[in-house]
Subunit: 401 residues, 2 copies
């Protein structure tokens, strides 16, 4: 596997564009289209919030046949909590995009992100869709990645090339994150493309698996959004023998590539959490079960007190152990070792003497690595988060106005 | 029922004192004793964190016989994650206090709050206990309340007088809160005294019930502490016919008084949440079950995004509905009405036109009242929290150092 230039248009046969449609207040891009020249096998995973935008339900319906050919997305307005008019607007976005691209509207997936509960400015959305459709190109990927940003400071893009049965296959992706980022899919938008030939069923299974160890392991603020989704389109143009079994050798190679892409994006999202200055990586090792490892890791990345202590470079390992303790997972606190980077802070649940300056130095690194050894079994999990800063408060105190 | 002056020494036969023992860095009181002239029926509720301080387990053991006569507490050091030495220190605090007061050490309850994972400075603790024991008085209650504060800005005290079968009975209480405040008991220290005659079993049942609608309904930061507890001592000196049944008329009167005391303290704790500028009260009404009402109410008070929006006076009702949606409770989002104070923001899950200035005015009030009408049944619940501010981050970025 090698990392290659570009993102969603790195795989053969994909085009993209992002344009300014004045949905956001600032002078920034806010409508994006990604499309394939050929119909794709497609899959999606969606927010678990029962309060969800119409696009989530529309996309689920459009994915029932396991195929899609384009994604239309906007930032600046989530089109959530907007009732029947919001539903109609979502359907209209798919209809118009399909018409402009000459494809069935049911093969168009829709994504929105931004403020909740405000009617969509459909005249501007529609103008944006027309402009984006007219400008679709391989070079438009970065514009598209910019157009899905909200409070993100940087666009998030990656592409890799893998080899499946002698045939080069590409996977490209973009994502946006920043606020309302919390495990259980419901975290952000991510659009993944690949020229691999692969069945829709297989693609769905692999996306779910990949999401579980990447997007579902990040937390910025525990707030699970109404709109978030990861979508994947596979157009088969790489010409590899079609992958139909995730357990096959080809399936495993593809899974590996996909996991690298989703994990890379997940870390970019956590690192660019609202107001964040540092990525926090929590490794829980030697747990008695996967569930315990995951639960403990996510509880620590979600703890406001731990996050604020990292921001303040305060080696307050007691907060780490406390966050593990209230996670709901069962383990023996008197057996836990805790490390900050290379430095051990606690052994068997008790603090050990450590040098404050050296501990502080571990907290000044980016990423900050926290390792929790439960000494109870063979399982492990990694979760990512970010520090809690003044800027998180500033950004969210006046997001809407 | 009437509110009376004082706190834990308002009931007959209780004394208290708080002194400076230089456990905290600043020149503040940090060791407290509350004692009764007579043995009391006693009960406690404790943190649900599996990582917990020795004092939690010691107190559980001391309460097995349903009685106690004194509480010794310190701030500045939680004596949690301190292993066997920490356990020994807790036992020593009870032993010394018992000796100085001339009572069985098993009738002494111990509470600690402060930094986790640091050895107790027992020489200073012991000196503090000696000084506090020597100074016990009815006038010492406020000193004691000050001595359990950590980042609290104000001491939290209240007392009421109720009448049980013609006999005046008093309930007094103090609490500390501020950070690591999150539902499920595990939130703070609260010490309650009463001169009511009441059985230990009855007292425990009533304390659990009262805690569920008060301390378990507040959240400052979702971080559940290692040390927190509510303790109640009842010495019977009021001379009322002993209460043995919570369902009796006398039991109901006592429950009402107790609930008023615990709810008042819970609101004081939420209002004084670290960095808070305003109390947030979330009323969930017309839920299909108590569980749904409680879950939705607590999810909203726990949402960082909602809390930051209140701080920013941003009438972002979509975040309120989103927080209800990811709470785990089941309800129909398309039926939900949301109010900020007097002003309706959403009907049937959709935004309705509202005046921004009027909405902002609702958010400038203290408390900020958020009402969520699920229109699904007869149940309701109220939860309390506070806004998320720059000062929360500042306080927690450098708590330990």
């Amino acid at each position: 596997m090698k990392i290659i230039d570009g993102s969603v248009t790195a795989p053969i046969g994909f085009l993209a564009q992002g344009v300014e449609a004045v949905i956001k207040k600032l002078d920034k891009k806010d409508v994006a289209i990604i499309s394939s020249t050929h119909l794709c096998a497609a899959a999606g995973v969606f927010t678990t919030n029962i309060v969800r935008a119409a696009c989530v339900d529309v996309d689920r319906a459009h994915l029932e046949n396991g195929s899609a050919q384009a994604i239309v997305a906007n930032s600046g307005n989530a089109n959530a909590c907007t009732g029947q008019p919001g539903w109609d607007d979502t359907v209209e976005m798919a209809r118009l995009t399909g018409k402009l691209l000459g494809i069935d509207p049911h093969e168009v997936l829709v994504a929105s992100t931004g403020v909740i509960g405000v009617a969509m400015p459909m005249d501007r959305i529609e103008q944006g869709i027309r402009t984006a459709a007219a400008g679709l190109s391989r070079e438009g990927a970065n514009n598209a990645a910019q157009a899905i940003m909200t409070t993100d400071l940087a666009s998030k893009e990656i592409a890799v090339e893998i080899e499946i049965e002698g045939c080069p296959v590409r996977i490209g992706a973009m994502a946006k994150g920043s606020g309302m980022i919390h495990p259980n899919m419901a975290t952000m938008l991510s659009f993944i493309t690949t020229d691999a030939a692969i069945s829709g069923r297989c693609l769905h299974e692999m996306l779910v698996k990949s999401t579980d160890s990447s997007f579902n392991m990040i937390s910025v603020d525990r707030d699970t959004s109404t709109n978030d989704m990861a979508l994947i389109l596979a157009n088969g143009l790489a010409g590899n023998p079609s992958i139909n079994n995730p357990a096959s050798e080809a399936g495993q190679v593809f899974q590996q590539g996909l996991d690298f892409v989703t994990t890379s994006l997940a870390k970019m999202i956590a690192r660019d959490g609202e107001g964040a200055t540092r990525l926090i990586e929590v490794q829980v090792v030697n747990a008695d079960s996967q569930a315990t490892a995951r639960t403990v890791a996510r509880s620590i990345t979600s703890s406001n007190l731990t996050k604020a202590a990292v921001f303040g470079e305060d080696a307050n390992w007691g907060r780490i152990l406390a966050a593990a303790g209230y996670s709901g997972a069962r383990f023996d606190p008197n057996q836990v070792d805790i490390y900050l980077g290379e430095q051990q802070m606690a052994a068997d649940g008790m603090g050990i003497g450590f040098d404050e300056d050296q501990a502080r130095a571990q907290l000044q690194k980016d990423p900050v690595i926290i390792k929790v050894d439960l000494k109870a079994g063979p399982e492990k999990a990694t979760a990512w988060g970010c520090d809690l800063t003044y800027d998180y408060v500033r950004i969210n105190a006046a997001y809407r106005t």
